[in-house]
């Protein structure tokens, strides 16, 4: 698969996410969106929130707009692999830094062949969080659908 392309007309190329921005999740403390442009805070916890009316992405479109936009324009965003898949739910089950092992749930073959410049690596060494794009030659095998 070609990397980094964006042929779907769903947004311009996005800036690679900085890890700090990626972790600015603690900003959303209630169903009320946080102030746009609030300084990113790195928090390992996410309070329990009332999610009946608003989705993670809707709240984060205001709480952490860059991150939300990167996700939305990504493969995960288009294919509706939503925030909670990697980050868990809010509250005690929240994972600020998704474990790379979790990627193997859908990307078994890729997780088994993670390397960078010939050396073992972690998924996010190459793939920008949320945007998930990566540069260079893929070390992973092509899909083998039966």
């Amino acid at each position: 698969m070609r990397r980094g392309e964006n042929v779907l007309g769903v947004g311009a190329a996005l800036v690679t996410a900085a890890l700090g921005a990626a972790l600015a999740l603690g900003a959303c403390a209630s169903s009320k969106p946080a102030q746009r442009g609030a300084a990113p805070q790195v928090q390992a916890v996410h309070p329990e929130v009332e999610t009946g009316l608003v989705t993670c992405a809707e709240c984060h479109a205001q709480a952490t707009p860059e991150v939300a936009a990167q996700w939305q324009a990504s493969r995960h965003g288009l294919a509706l692999v939503k925030c909670f898949v990697c980050h868990g739910s809010t509250g005690a089950d929240f994972r600020a830094r998704p474990q790379a092992a979790g990627c193997a749930g859908c990307h078994t073959a890729q997780a088994a062949t993670v390397s960078k410049d010939g050396a073992p690596a972690r998924c996010f060494d190459c793939h920008a969080p949320h945007a998930l794009t990566a540069k260079g030659t893929s070390p992973h095998p092509a899909p083998n659908r039966s």
């Binding site: 999610t51 009946g52 509706l80 692999v81 739910s89 979790g102 193997a104 899909p143």
Partner: protein, 748 residues
């Protein structure tokens, strides 16, 4: 004394929250995990996966990279391990006594079930009992139920929830091609230049297939995606054209698209001449000129005025679909099927393919998407509906009955010639007392039937005896039952699932059943023996039943007799027809060189061998409004459907911690102008009422809604959209019109 559903959920909520149900992420990295090949428990996409188990518990899943899904899973499938240890897993039999449900032994519960069924059969005849099964049951389970009721008890009252989801697709295929099930396959997605998604929110209902479409759109040249849906769903994010319309006018739109194909010279003349016949009503007695005369009434301009859309959009959709030299693939689901003219809607999609010749070629095919993992394999193919016998045979056909009597080794005349009652009629028979006993397996009609309060009352009617076999309790059905049997769940048992594309896959047992739960296969065999029909089920295991099933399918248009258990164990899904152990399977049915049932020397590229003349039928079907239309008293349209995070009645997904935080509650989605008119905003409560009933929902205002249309998802067990929906049915398929009714909406 059993707790009420509300109290039970309250008492388990705290425990559930504390347990923080360990997800697959933590477990994947762990040691000592054994992996067993299986299939996702949810939708009809049938994604292959491996179940990771440790210490007898399911701790993880991983997508099967060698299956059609190339390792991808949707959010629901990814979180599957959590359903196994849900706090409301039902782990021992319950029998209703005067003071509520009491725990019982298996012997006591099954003794009571057998006695009640026996008594009803003796007093009132075999048609006083019935079976209501599921497109989620394993093929072997459904097979045993079908055989027990039809050949043992001798009633054709064998139904299932596929009547609510796939009956119109089935009747559409049978009417047009003579045989049920699609001719295309998922691989066609990789070759399609144009996608027509109609009545399908693919992105949410079939996410892994949507992902494959997405990839095709990225890699193909000028790939177009057309979405026909009143709502602007997430599927529309990749649409080149979203055509929104007044609910119920899509029959006219599909005819208008055919009109454009003729007007613009996009018809495949040779294909029409060689492969197509024309019909109206139930007779294949029309000519092409008759069809063109019908279409003349459906100009884009005229239809646009009716449908509340633009004529240019209709024309554009048709031109894209029909453009010469480009492939076109249609996919649809409940938007077309759950309609009082669902069969017609299906056939109007087939018409577009037949007229343009875009069928039976890579990337050109009409592919009906299935909602449940084994509606196709178990119920449709297995013939576990009230008018069917296994593998394309019909109850009403004397030759077919005789054939099944021979295969099932029962005396000639054993099988009743009278078709049983389709789902809604079955529950109406319970209501009026003609049906005394109903065995419900792996489904939740107390929540999922349309106009549900009516049928909830029927299930609790004095004198009705309802058995529910379920992995969870309480559900909105088990709470109404007289006996609740604890069913083994998914990875706790072995059997075959058959998904949308004629792909059969084996789910192997990964862990033992919890508590006293037993696989439905064992329970049904037990019931058969207790009713004196043990000779019909001489099976030690589902594998034994599979051997018999292969023999029953042999020589039919479904022939998968080459699909041995061992082959299924090794393979990552096999597509029928597969008439011998060395046959590779069939990606494209009816196609010379691919389908073993088409002679290799057939002069044309396809042969529609399902029909006696070898031709597919273009049916002349006029626009017809839904059963209920908006009026002064009920001025808004009401429609229901799926969301990404939940599935069916939520018995499984609502147990997943992450999914409890995502679209858990059914909200009434309203267009901003409707919200303004009703003076409601996000979070306000509205009472949605129809002529049948009412339910209160919180409001979500969204410009993705169509003006005048309320959407509510169907997964919420506390806010039942089906109190509102209509139980009118398609006259041919007998499938209810869940998708459209008229309501009034008031601030609550």
């Amino acid at each position: 004394m059993a707790l009420s559903r509300r109290d039970f959920l309250k008492s388990t909520a705290a425990a559930s929250a504390l347990s923080a149900l360990s997800g697959p992420v933590a477990a994947v990295a762990g040691d000592g995990v054994t992996w067993t090949k299986s299939v996702c428990r949810y939708c009809g996409t049938g994604c292959g996966l491996y179940v990771g188990a440790r210490g007898g518990k399911v701790v993880a899943v991983q997508g099967d990279k060698d299956d059609h899904n190339a390792g991808y899973l949707c959010v629901k499938g990814y979180l599957l391990p959590q359903i196994m240890s849900a706090p409301d897993r039902h782990l021992h039999p319950l029998v209703r006594k005067s003071d509520g449900f009491q725990r019982a032994s298996w012997d006591e519960a099954m003794g009571l079930v057998a006695a009640k069924f026996q008594e009803a059969i003796q007093k009132f005849g075999p048609d006083a009992v019935g079976f209501y099964g599921s497109g989620q049951a394993l093929t072997e389970e459904t097979y045993v139920a079908n055989k027990l009721f039809k050949a043992g008890i001798r009633t054709n009252n064998v139904e299932g929830n596929p009547r609510l989801c796939m009956a119109s697709a089935t009747a559409g295929y049978v009417g047009t091609y003579g045989k049920d099930e699609p001719m295309g396959c998922y691989e066609d997605i990789d070759h399609a230049d144009v996608f027509l998604l109609v009545g399908s929110n693919t992105a949410e209902a079939h996410p892994v297939l949507f992902h494959r479409i997405l990839r095709r759109k990225e890699s193909g040249k000028n790939v177009k995606v057309i979405v026909l849906d009143p709502r602007r769903t997430p599927t529309c994010r990749i649409a080149d054209l979203h055509l929104s319309f007044v609910p119920g006018t899509d029959l006219a739109i599909l005819n208008a698209m055919a009109n454009v194909l003729f007007a613009d010279g996009l018809v495949d003349e040779a294909f029409l001449k060689d492969h197509v016949a024309f019909g109206e009503g139930t007779e294949v007695n029309k000519a092409r000129a008759d069809y063109e005369r019908l279409l003349a009434d459906y100009t884009p301009q005229k239809v646009a005025a009716l449908a509340g859309c633009s004529a240019e959009d209709i024309t554009r959709a048709a031109r894209w679909f029909g453009e010469k030299g480009r492939s076109a693939m249609s996919m649809w689901t409940m938007g077309l099927n759950q309609r009082s003219r669902g069969v017609w809607a299906n056939q109007l999609v087939h018409n577009l393919h037949l007229v343009s010749g875009k069928i039976g070629l890579p990337g050109s095919t009409p592919l009906s998407l299935t909602g449940q993992p084994n509606a196709c394999g178990g119920v449709r193919d297995g013939g576990a509906l009230s008018h069917l016998l296994p593998y394309g045979r019909l109850v009403a056909n004397e030759k077919h009955r005789a054939e099944m009597e021979r295969l099932w080794k029962v005396a000639p005349g054993t099988l009743s010639a009278k078709p049983g009652l389709p789902a809604i009629d079955l529950f109406r028979a319970l209501e009026d007392g003609k049906l005394k006993c109903l065995y419900v397996m792996c489904t939740n009609p107390g929540q999922s039937l349309p106009n549900v309060e009516r049928y909830r009352r029927a299930m609790r009617r004095e004198g009705a005896f309802v058995v529910v076999s379920e992995a969870f309790h309480p559900t909105r059905t088990s709470e109404l039952a007289d006996v609740v049997l604890p069913a083994a769940l998914w990875a706790e048992k072995e059997g075959v699932y058959g998904c949308t594309e004629r792909r059969y896959q084996l789910l192997e047992r990964a862990v033992p059943p919890q508590g006293e739960a037993r696989p439905d296969f064992d329970v049904l065999c037990d019931l058969a023996r207790r009713l004196g029909h043990g000779d019909l089920v001489p099976f030690q295991s589902p594998a034994d039943a599979w051997e018999e099933i292969l023999g029953v399918a042999r020589g039919t248009a479904y022939d998968f007799s080459g699909m041995t258990r061992e082959r299924l164990r090794q393979a990552h899904g096999l597509l029928w027809p597969m008439p011998s152990a060395d046959h590779p399977g069939t990606k494209r049915r009816y196609v010379r060189g691919e389908d073993p049932l088409v002679p290799a020397d057939h002069p044309q590229r396809v042969k529609f061998y399902g029909r006696p003349d070898g031709r597919a039928v273009v049916w002349l079907r006029p626009q017809k409004p839904p059963e209920e239309v908006v009026d002064g008293a009920y001025p808004m349209w009401f429609t229901t459907g799926r969301v990404l995070e939940h599935w069916h009645t939520g018995t499984m997904t609502r147990n997943c911690k992450e999914l409890q935080h995502a679209s858990y509650e059914a909200l009434a989605e309203l267009h901003p102008q409707d919200a303004a008119r009703l003076e409601v905003k996000d979070g306000d409560r509205v009472r949605v009422s129809s002529r049948r009933g009412a339910e209160t929902f919180r409001v979500k205002v969204t410009d993705a809604a169509r003006l005048g249309l309320v959407f509510v998802h169907m997964h919420d067990a506390e806010h039942l959209c089906n109190r509102v929906t209509v139980d009118a049915v398609d006259p041919v398929s007998r499938q209810p019109e869940f998708k459209i009714c008229a309501v009034k909406v008031e601030k609550a």
